[in-house]
Symmetry: C2
Subunit: 230 residues, 2 copies
DNA sequence: GGTGTAATGTATACATTGTACACATTACAC
DNA sequence: GTGTAATGTGTACAATGTATACATTACACC
């Protein structure tokens, strides 16, 4: 069984206690130290468990051991906090994709490598959606005013966002002669749409009844068809 | 320009006034008459403007001219109200699809007709998403405990839901010999995923910047590719 | 090293929300 | 005509987001 590596989330994971009880963090100093990070971490944990609606500002400050209004020194309002969580989620997704890409074996066949890269993007995308539905839901479903599509905070370790990682996969396919340059934009939209739609339908749509193994099998078939459809 | 026909919504459309002001409906009778419908209509109107989060229970009762707690005689809680709106949205979508199907011209070519039907489903789906983003967002994004996928309240005039209408289109394609029976389930998921994903990405994802004419062109191309990919 | 100032956290307060509980009104079956 | 179930109201409460005023402290500057 594969386990996700969410480097953003590891720090605060052990700060949760039993049901409903919230840790009272007593700090000696008046200043918190890194409240922004503490708030964001707590918010991410809440988002993991219950999606956007679970990210309630007062609960976040409670978990950080700080008064409710302290949050306003770091986030304009709850919406801004949600946006930050959204970008963290996008980043975690990008890291997942990067990891999957790095797992590709070596080969001399350029076309083979390009295809493997595209498949890696799709596979990681679907796996992330299933493993972290709360975060996945927030990655794109938060009304984000500033276009954080290419914001560094939304990127993975390579500095590329999930969307850009798909783009690089397509570039490799173009280099390998599998698709034409004119078709690139459309191929991007098509591939993204199919995988994204499948993920969404599985999480909150009529495909909710699929179990994970079924989902993975169908997901792979879907990626196959997308690859051929490009 | 095409305009949607939302028969569910026409009644209460004219009940809205200027910004923020809410009509005070004074009724002579103690009983409302059809409060369930009034509440649902008001909720749908709010959902049209601001999605699920705009459906606030107290505002709904205000618009119906009734005390907040009156709603609890007809809906167990806010969640139940949201589910009802979700089903109404699914129904409106199904009607859109039916209308588009009925617009198909006559032909002797069975395969041609089957293809036109599939395209009609996809076209109507995307048009509805663009024309009624608030409702579209609620059609599938509400955590609906009871499987309302084949609930009559979610269906169109034909008694079929949007999902089932896609199914019938695929059946016609099977009859025409365009796809095999074994491939049906997957084809259903694939077609639905691609169109649904495109819609979602346009409404709340990285494709938000697309304008409507671009969206329609790409949407048609996407439907083309799906058709071939089946 | 002392001090002023900006940054950061707190206290108090308020409007709004969902909803529980007791009560009022009325349609309708008998 | 009357009793009963259905439907709407009044009051109340805890929780939330956030505005405003205040307290504490890190740090730049002399």
């Amino acid at each position: 069984m594969y386990t996700l590596h969410l480097q953003l989330l590891t720090l605060s994971t052990n700060m949760n206690m039993a049901n409903k009880t919230t840790i009272q963090i007593k700090r000696s100093t008046y200043r918190h130290g890194d409240l922004y990070r503490a708030l964001l971490d707590a918010a991410v944990q809440l988002a993991r468990k219950g999606g956007a609606e679970a990210v309630v500002l007062r609960e976040v400050t409670r978990q950080a051991g700080v008064s409710p209004n302290a949050a306003y020194r770091h986030f304009a309002d709850r919406h801004a906090l949600l946006q930050a969580v959204s970008m963290a989620a996008q980043s975690a997704l990008a890291v997942e994709i990067e990891n999957e890409i790095n797992r590709i074996g070596k080969s001399d066949d350029q076309l083979e490598l390009a295809r493997a890269r595209l498949r890696a993007v799709g596979t990681a995308y679907l796996r992330f959606a299933l493993a972290e539905p709360g975060l996945f839901g927030m990655a794109f479903s938060v009304p984000n005013d500033l276009s954080n599509a290419d914001n560094p905070a939304s990127a993975g370790e390579s500095g590329l966002t999930a969307y850009q990682l798909l783009g690089t996969a397509l570039d490799k396919l173009i280099e390998a002669g599998a698709i034409t340059q004119e078709r690139r934009q459309f191929a991007e939209i098509f591939a993204w749409s199919a995988v994204h739609g499948f993920a969404k339908l599985m999480l909150e749509g009529p495909l909710r009844s699929l179990d994970k193994t079924q989902a993975e099998v169908i997901g792979q078939r879907l990626i196959d068809v997308v690859e051929r459809g490009l």
